[in-house]
């Protein structure tokens, strides 16, 4: 069984070939993006294997710019005629798009020289993760589920435990001569614990994480125990009367919120005036406690890559420094539109044209421990789980179904569900009165515990 994706060298060769074919078909500027990945996922349930799944993908996207207009094609046929067909179609499609002088691709001058050893220095690839056998993953997943079940007799079943590992390679080449490639691995473990509540109701506890290195994944026992703790803590949850109170955001909720807000920090949204931060560059838009960073070069980060997906060297962008809006994020196109330097936030997969996206997005850790934050709240809501929808990207309005705990006199009193938490992101940012010291990356977005001075909790 092949466990490794295609090598970066193989991908680059295909990418250069595709660029050359697009140029030959009539593209003024062309780029080609290749992605290869190999993943194996094990899911267990009730002490036995539920699914074993192997995924293997190798795809190519060709972008052709003709007279300033973009045509794009993608597919998985990497034979010479297959690549030629995609390249010619991309050129033919460009005729139907609108010419825009900002369309282009980074030049060698903009991209700078390729830095040997850069990818290695960022610790993206772990041979141990790649070589983790299906049998080892089965054992890990079984251990993870056992740990969740063993944590407490009230945990009678799980909704499954899964362990997955993957390796992937990415390559980008353009007709200005820029070509970049790298590879990385990831390994993840997740479990859903179910606790019996009254009246046939169940409470769920979800926990897990994804890391690039196998050694960074903690022991399965701890992950399983945490999932069970989360489920058990919710037993007997009830609603509370509608009121305006301080809200403590658990790191999971805070991280989701900053990822939702990211769109407002992109130049793309500012250019089309759909960002609620439009016109606020240089202004203090958040509490002085808040520093928001996107670091594409963070060593070992899940969102780290040596270059962005257009070939520009990644870096650390500070969007909010002590609450002041420092800069927006740009891909190559939106930077040209705005007349600024790109921030290396070009993001794409092989099947899409570039857009703007974050790498490793986080709020810098503060100096207050999460426990101190809790102890300082006389009456409020500790908010640690939510529904999926409720953020309005244009206004920043925020309104989510929420679960958590009622807090009085610095202590959690009882679990809460059947409520919503609402506010506006700009006001919420300005009213952050404490930032925890508990910054911990479990995915590519992380945020410490936050205390927001007041939000509306709606219930009975």
């Amino acid at each position: 069984m092949t466990t490794r994706s295609a090598t970066p060298e193989q991908l680059i060769a295909h990418a250069k070939h595709a660029v050359e074919r697009a140029r030959a078909a009539g593209a003024d500027v062309a780029d080609a993006c290749l992605e290869s990945s190999r993943a194996f996922t094990v899911s267990v349930l009730g002490g036995d294997i539920e699914t074993l799944k192997q995924s293997g993908t190798l795809g190519l996207g060709v972008r052709a710019i003709v007279g300033g207009a973009v045509g794009f094609c993608s597919g998985t046929d990497l034979s010479a005629p297959g690549i030629d067909d995609l390249a010619r179609r991309a050129v033919a499609l460009a005729r139907f798009a609108t010419p825009d002088p900002a369309n282009g691709a980074p030049t060698l001058e903009e991209a700078g020289p390729e830095e040997p050893g850069l990818a290695e220095s960022m610790k993206l690839f772990d041979p141990a993760a790649m070589e983790l056998s299906p049998e080892a993953k089965i054992d890990m997943a079984l251990e993870l589920e056992r740990a969740a079940l063993a944590a407490d007799p009230r945990i009678k079943r799980t909704d499954g435990a899964s362990v997955s590992s993957s390796s992937g390679a990415f390559a980008i080449a353009n007709s200005h001569g820029v070509s970049r490639s790298w590879e990385g691995t990831s390994v993840s473990a997740w479990v859903v614990a179910l606790a019996d509540d009254q009246g046939g109701k169940q409470q769920t506890g979800v926990y897990g994480m994804t890391k690039r290195h196998l050694a960074d994944l903690p022991a399965m026992e701890g992950l399983g125990r945490e999932a069970s703790r989360r489920a058990l803590a919710r037993i007997g949850a009830r609603t509370v009367p509608t009121q305006r109170v301080p809200v403590i955001m658990h790191p999971d909720i805070a991280a989701t919120w900053i990822a939702q807000m990211y769109d407002a920090f992109t130049g793309e949204s500012v250019l089309r005036r759909s960002s609620w931060l439009t016109g606020k560059l240089g202004q203090k838009v958040a509490s002085a406690l808040v520093t928001l960073i996107d670091d594409g070069a963070l060593a070992g980060g899940l969102g780290t890559s040596p270059y962005d997906s257009e070939g520009l060297r990644t870096r650390r962008n500070v969007h909010l420094q002590d609450g002041v809006l420092q800069q927006f994020a740009y891909d190559h196109y939106s930077a040209r539109r705005a007349g600024v330097s790109p921030t290396a936030n070009g993001v794409r997969g092989f099947a899409s044209t570039p857009g703007t996206g974050y790498h490793n997005l986080y709020v810098a850790a503060g100096h207050t421990s999460a426990n101190e934050i809790l102890r300082g709240v006389t009456k409020g809501f500790y908010y640690d789980d939510q529904g999926s929808f409720g953020y309005n990207p244009v206004t920043g309005d925020y309104s989510f179904q929420a679960q958590g705990f009622w807090v009085e006199n610095g202590e959690m009193q009882f679990p809460v569900d059947g409520v919503t938490v609402a506010g506006n992101s700009l006001e919420m940012l300005q009213h952050i009165v404490a930032v925890g010291s508990d910054l911990d990356f479990r995915t590519s977005v992380a945020c410490p515990t936050l205390l927001i001075e007041a939000m509306t909790v709606s219930g009975s």
Partner: protein, 478 residues
């Protein structure tokens, strides 16, 4: 050149002899069942924003997924493309889920499934919409939205199509093929007025004919709807937080029954006991007068098909009859393990995924009430006119969805528009809180996509206007 060419004949790319060989390999270690799913899909898209067509795109997704079942266990592997050796390797990987080592025979011959089609398209939009027409449609939508109101400052339009053909063959000797043609036109309009900004949306689509965009849902009609919504929201108020009566619109309002009820009726959660519904058959789970159905047969809906992704013909399945739970939805695996019959709910996002038990078009049947009377009966409450996305946690039942455009009801009258309301509750009792079902059933099969275990699948949702006694409404006003 058409925007989306007619799909190729898949039986030429994956001949029956090869499929039989793959099924044999997949069962070489003792798997009780195996299936092979081959797919060729072409996606096209025109994206328009800031007065320009940003890109015209064309993408091909094709390959084969192979599944082997051994008791409750699933082995799955896929390969992009149709190279025979890649497919054999995928079959070998899938086979490893079984361990008793007794090889089972491959089917000697296939019988071709002849299920009738619930509807057919004479001129599917994906085939008929050539590039010139697509470019014209997105431009017309832009011009129309901008001319609606001077406060409309930005317009985004996307026109996307897909043409998919697939073959599903299994170790029981079934062979079935089908083609589906989806298209969707989405317009969003941004309204600016001083420091206020609001966005309005409108979408149309489904498995429709070209005519649909020329007559029923023109770019102009969608643009006007999106622009009007954005402008209306500029003057809307924040919702009052709390728990009070709510009337939910017909059509897309059915996203609520999808989230807070439908997911808990899917066969996988029933078999595993992770759904509260597993022990409620025969019990009163919704108010009297409420009948809930899942049907893959609704004409022109995204959620409909002739055969599901396991080859089972689409059908109408009654889940709740007059408030009583009478049936569940089943895919092949979960049906076989529980002694039930598959109901045409085995669906997968693509050949890269194994089938899951999924809804098709899920809706509440019409009741006796005039929808206006349902609103008029509310002393103080909320009328939800346009809904956004929704989600549920199936095991604990907590659900929520976004209401993008609502109206305050005061003394039975709609008084002013309300924005950014989120409705939240628990699926365990939400359907019991229905106290009025309208006579205006509409099934919206134009734009819905449902996510489950990382797989996105087109669905339809529907209901008549429905009144709830009390739902928690999230808002900032007290």
């Amino acid at each position: 050149m058409p925007a989306n060419p007619a799909p190729p004949d898949l039986t030429r790319l994956v001949p029956r002899e090869l499929v039989a060989e793959l099924l044999g390999i997949a069962r070489s270690s003792g798997a009780s069942f195996a299936d092979v799913y081959a797919e060729h899909t072409v996606f096209t898209a025109f994206s328009f924003d800031e007065g320009r067509i940003k890109a015209a795109s064309y993408s091909v997704l094709n390959g084969v997924g192979i599944r082997a079942l051994a008791g409750e266990k699933t082995g799955y592997a896929y390969a992009d493309g149709f190279a025979a050796n890649d497919l054999r390797e995928a079959a070998r990987v899938a086979a490893r889920v079984a361990r008793d080592g007794v090889a089972r025979a491959a089917p000697q011959a296939f019988r071709v499934s002849e299920a009738p089609a619930p509807f057919t398209l004479a001129h599917p939009a994906p085939i008929e919409l050539d590039e010139t027409r697509c470019a014209d449609m997105v431009r017309r939508a832009d011009a129309s939205a901008r001319s609606h109101d001077a406060r409309i400052k930005e317009v985004s339009v996307s026109l996307a199509t897909s043409a998919k053909s697939f073959v599903i063959a299994d170790s029981d000797g079934q062979w079935a093929e089908d083609r589906t043609y989806l298209s969707r036109l989405v317009v969003s309009a941004l309204a600016l007025d001083g420091d206020e900004r609001q966005e309005g949306f409108a979408a149309a689509g489904g498995q429709v004919e070209l005519e649909y965009y020329l007559r029923d849902r023109t770019p102009e009609a969608l643009a006007t709807e999106a622009a009007a919504s954005a402008v209306l929201l500029l003057s809307a108020r924040e919702p009052e937080g709390g728990s009070y009566p709510v009337v939910v619109c017909n059509g897309w309002g059915g996203v609520m029954v999808h989230e807070c009820f439908g997911h808990s009726m899917e066969g996988d959660t029933i078999r595993k006991g992770s759904s509260i519904r597993a022990v409620q058959k025969g019990q009163q789970v919704a108010a009297k007068g409420v009948t809930i159905v899942d049907s893959g047969l609704i004409a022109n809906s995204r959620g409909s098909f002739r055969i599901d992704d396991e080859g089972t013909p689409a059908q109408r399945t009654v889940l709740v009859e007059d408030g009583v739970l009478v049936g569940y939805m089943w895919d092949k695996l979960n049906a076989a393990l529980t002694g039930n019959t598959p109901t045409g709910n085995g669906r997968r996002a693509s050949y890269r995924d194994y089938p899951l038990c999924r809804m098709t078009n899920t809706y509440i049947e019409p009741g006796p009430h005039d929808p206006q009377a349902l609103i008029a009966s509310v002393e103080r409450g909320l009328y939800c006119k346009k809904l956004g996305g929704g989600s549920v946690s199936p095991a604990d039942g907590n659900f929520s969805f976004q209401v993008t455009e609502a109206w305050q009801i005061e003394k039975g009258k709609l008084t002013h528009p309300v924005r950014n309301a989120t409705l939240a509750g628990n699926g365990n009792d939400a359907m019991l809180k229905i106290d009025g079902v309208g006579n205006d059933l509409a099934i919206d099969g134009t734009t819905g996509s449902c996510g489950k275990d990382g797989q996105w699948k087109p669905v339809g949702v529907g209901q008549p206007t429905v009144r709830f006694t009390g739902i928690t409404v999230g808002g900032t006003a007290l």
